[in-house]
């Protein structure tokens, strides 16, 4: 059974249909990259999965449980959404770290708040808090930031901030981790450290969906690549096909333009 099944998702903003009838599925441990020019709908698709946008049509199923059904108004209630969106983690293009908290506090904040809802929280408060903090330290260590625990975001480079953001998303143990152009806001010399972390996650079989403009990276880490254009999936398949030897005219043209512009 796939860990994620998306069926016929559509989303319109006013008169513009940003994504149309998107369907795909994802296996546990799989890394899927979504490529395409800006305005093709790839970010909107990711935002729909994280409930930052509400799709107009379609269903989203995680581990066999329908977590969103556009035809069922109950799946839009705030309480329901809050639990269900925890299936997904999200790493934003602009990091969106909380500036008033240290790296460690950024990673622990949500976990500590969620822990208060546990029935055994009052009885085991200190134990639970310690667990969350130790887990956060271990994750920050795994992204190479064990020496930056007490640094505030403005004291960190863009690459370090994005690694904290990845740690923050990982701390809640999402089933599927989503990246929205994680290196687009970074100076070129800082993209490497972030891509390295994502590559390590892929090697550890983390289920991921990555919206990216980094073609060679997508080719290396992905199990599958989705090319989107004008709100629809134009081509979907293994990276050797979609990036290496595309079948569709539109994919070919997109990649030609991409490599002509001096990218590699």
């Amino acid at each position: 059974m796939p860990i994620l099944e998306v069926r016929n998702i559509s989303k319109r903003f006013g008169d513009t249909e940003v994504i149309r009838d998107i369907s795909f599925s994802l296996e546990k441990g799989e890394t899927l990259s979504i490529i395409g020019s800006s305005g093709s709908g790839k970010t909107t698709l990711l935002r729909c999965l994280n409930f930052l946008e509400t799709p107009d049509n379609g269903t989203i199923t995680v581990n066999g449980e329908v977590i969103f059904d556009a035809s069922d108004p109950a799946s839009r209630s705030e309480k329901g959404i809050r639990e269900k969106r925890l299936h997904f983690g999200m790493v934003f293009q602009s990091f969106n770290l909380f500036p008033q908290y240290t790296a460690l506090q950024n990673v622990t904040l949500a976990g500590l708040l969620l822990a208060k809802e546990r029935p055994d929280y009052r009885a085991r408060k200190n134990e639970i808090r310690e667990e969350i903090i130790n887990n956060a330290k271990a994750i920050l260590d795994s992204v190479g930031l064990s020496s930056k625990l007490d640094h505030y975001p403005h004291q960190l480079s863009g690459g370090q901030q994005q690694r904290v953001a990845i740690a923050r998303a990982l701390a809640l143990k999402p089933d599927i981790l989503c990246f929205d152009e994680p290196t687009s806001a970074l100076d070129p010399e800082l993209t490497g450290e972030v891509l390295r972390v994502i590559r390590e996650l892929a090697e550890r079989e983390t289920t991921m969906i990555i919206v990216t403009h980094e073609m060679s990276f997508a080719r290396q880490v992905s199990d599958n690549v989705m090319f989107m254009d004008d709100g629809v999936i134009v081509e979907y398949g293994p990276p050797e096909q979609v990036i290496g030897n595309p079948r569709e005219e539109r994919t070919k043209r997109f990649l030609e333009r991409y490599f002509e512009n001096g990218n590699s």
């Binding site: 969106n96 904040l109 708040l113």
Partner: protein
């Protein structure tokens, strides 16, 4: 000489009282007005914004007269005390200004902060109180400091409805041919605002540990 000075202190005590009570009530009331002016329910939003426009668009001096006389003239229930009228006028006036500062502060926080909180499973109120609020406070401290310092001096306006604040007290002596008590009132304001500047600067520095 002593009688002049004690009279000035007596007057300034009213300025301080007006200042403290106005701040204590206008700061929270301003937040209520902010939520109204940012409401998704349009009629409420426009009602509140019109109210803010009227309060900010007319002189505080006029508002003092309106609050003092309108209840008696329109509803037959005269204002019981001049001080109450002054406090009401000042609180409403300053709450309107504060609400606009708050609104600017809240709207300047990037949408990504709310989204980051939401995708981490935080409730709306957790996002507001744990993530947004401190960033807003940091942003509004400088403009609020400005308004608060303006308020100390605006309290002198209360004399137009017969509150014996410091400048009114000092003016009485000019009729006896003494001008220096009037001039010296400036020193009271200067000293008070000096202390205020130090306190507000301290608050600003306390929030220096992060950048927004």
């Amino acid at each position: 000489m002593n009688i002049y000075i004690s009279s000035l202190f007596e007057g300034f005590w009213l300025n301080i009282k007006l200042f403290v009570l106005t701040l204590a009530m206008a700061i929270p009331l301003g937040l209520v007005i902010t939520f109204g002016s940012m409401a998704k329910f349009r009629p409420l939003k426009w009602l509140v914004r019109t109210f803010v426009w009227i309060i900010r668009g007319t002189p505080l001096m006029l508002q003092l007269f309106v609050v003092l006389y309108a209840p008696g003239l329109l509803f037959g229930v005269p204002m019981k005390s001049r001080m109450t009228a002054a406090i009401v006028a000042f609180v409403v006036n300053y709450a309107a200004y504060f609400s606009e500062i708050y609104r600017g502060g809240i709207e300047s926080i990037p949408k990504g902060q709310y989204e980051a909180g939401a995708v981490l499973g935080m409730t709306r109120s957790q996002v507001f109180f744990k993530v947004i609020l401190l960033q807003v406070i940091k942003r509004i401290v400088p403009p609020m400091s400005n308004e608060i310092i303006t308020l100390t001096k605006d309290t002198a306006l209360a004399r137009v409805i017969g509150i014996a604040e410091i400048i009114m007290c000092a003016e009485r002596f000019t009729k006896q041919g003494l001008i220096w008590p009037l001039f010296s009132t400036g020193l009271f304001f200067l000293a008070f605002n000096g202390v205020l500047t130090i306190v507000l600067g301290w608050i600003e520095r306390r929030l220096d540990y992060f950048k927004v």
